[in-house]
Symmetry: C2
Subunit: 266 residues, 2 copies
């Protein structure tokens, strides 16, 4: 069992070290992560410039590689056999903030796991729902245990191809975590606002500002589970097709501007 | 009907002009697009630096705005009322390459439409399955007609909240396009390879290279429809939850390392 550990916060993030230590008892571990923070970067693949990779041991002295590419690039490098050995499982994180609801499409932590799933590998994204700004390794103590248990379960039970798990862990001591919940993606509520300013030369510029996203803590959702003190495990799939819309779209009225406006659901 | 037109190829792309011209008969049109190419950028939201926006008319002399932000930032700016008037519909493209199968998570064209859907707006991403490298406005002639017809249909029929359409148009003259097909996301086959090189100073660097992605042209998939000469219309949703995995995950064996390993699907 060869496990790739990556993240979107960069090689020096304490969450990466926590995750590496979490999965080390479960197999051979390789760490390959970005050399800087890529938060809110989305699903990036770097094709227009070459990538550098350098060895850069983790704080506990174990071997690791840092690249100037994005989180998904780390996965792509490993899948293209950069490590000289096939990868069997990809784990990403532990992100110091939650990745709940629609966060998943922005999240470098989750899109790294998606990249692995696209290539047919089982993958898990781990995030800690921390309210704090600067975390230390000690803050990840419970999350590390959770990550180990869930990764072990994935190794034991397997994950169907094209799927990944998005795990969010409440920021609580181990004995206060209430357990696990299987959840659906919830509904984030974003509070973006435009903050228009004028620079010293009189030219306008704009910040996308506003409060951090909140969420509707519905029962059954990832947001609800974490709010209730549970570890949220959301199985995700790569197929975004809204199959339920097919009947409705088939009944739409269409102009006849085009020669063949026939809707044919095949 | 106030329509926002954006893209990921930048304000000067002929596909943006084609799309603006396509939808101009359908309502009031505002164009706000990145000032450079953001292809394969994924779903980015720029929070760590301010954005600049400048007026930059399109080639046909109509008003448009260019920003140094990402495609999703264009949508966020418009939703945060940068244009001074509420947006009712977002159209993105016309991308000069197809966005089929798993391309959608990487694609700036599609993630711009996703950003709109997250905010509850109907949105459509348009891509042309062109084999060519450099396209002119004339190359988008058929795609422009298709984009107008589909946008009109969305305005007439409405699109349920949280959904978007991903449209791929074959690179054919209008009279050779066979019609429309409602499709599901197909399976891309990526051919990434690692190209390891050594720089003039003896240090290694790496290109993610290999042939362009191909696809399995299955019947019913976006890839199959475009290969058959049809316009592919794939309804997408923002909820990536793999509901079908719930029963299986509920039956997994779990270690008892944690106090409460109870799986509770709520």
């Amino acid at each position: 069992m060869h496990i790739l550990v990556t993240n979107d916060d960069g090689i020096h993030a304490p969450g990466l070290l926590a995750l590496a230590q979490a999965v080390r008892p479960l197999g051979k571990v390789s760490v390959l992560a970005p050399d800087r923070n890529w938060s809110a970067s989305g699903h990036v693949k770097t094709l227009d410039r070459p990538l550098r990779v350098k060895e850069m041991p983790l704080e506990d002295g174990t071997s690791a590689f840092a690249t100037d590419g994005a989180p998904s690039d780390c996965v792509a490098l490993a899948i293209c056999n950069f490590l000289g050995e096939k990868v069997d499982l990809v784990v990403s994180g532990i992100n110091p903030y939650a990745n709940l609801g629609h966060d998943v499409t922005y999240s470098g932590t989750v899109t790294a796991a998606m990249e692995a799933a696209i290539w047919g590998l089982p993958a898990i994204a781990f995030s800690l729902d921390s309210p704090k700004n600067h975390l230390t390794l000690a803050d990840f103590q419970a999350a590390e245990q959770v990550a180990r248990q869930i990764t072990r379960a994935v190794i034991q039970n397997g994950l169907p191809e094209g799927n990944l798990l998005n795990v969010n862990i409440p920021f609580l001591p181990m004995n206060q975590i209430k357990g696990y919940r299987l959840t659906r993606m919830g509904l984030r509520v974003y509070h973006d606002k435009l903050d228009s300013r004028v620079d010293p030369r009189g030219r306008p510029y704009y910040w996308i500002s506003g409060d951090s996203p909140t969420g509707i803590p519905e029962r059954g959702s990832d947001i609800g589970a974490v709010a209730d003190g549970f570890v949220s495990i959301t199985p995700l799939k790569l197929d975004l097709t809204a199959y339920s819309l097919f009947p409705e779209l088939n009944q739409w009225e269409w102009d006849q501007e085009i020669g063949h406006p026939l809707l044919e659901s095949a």
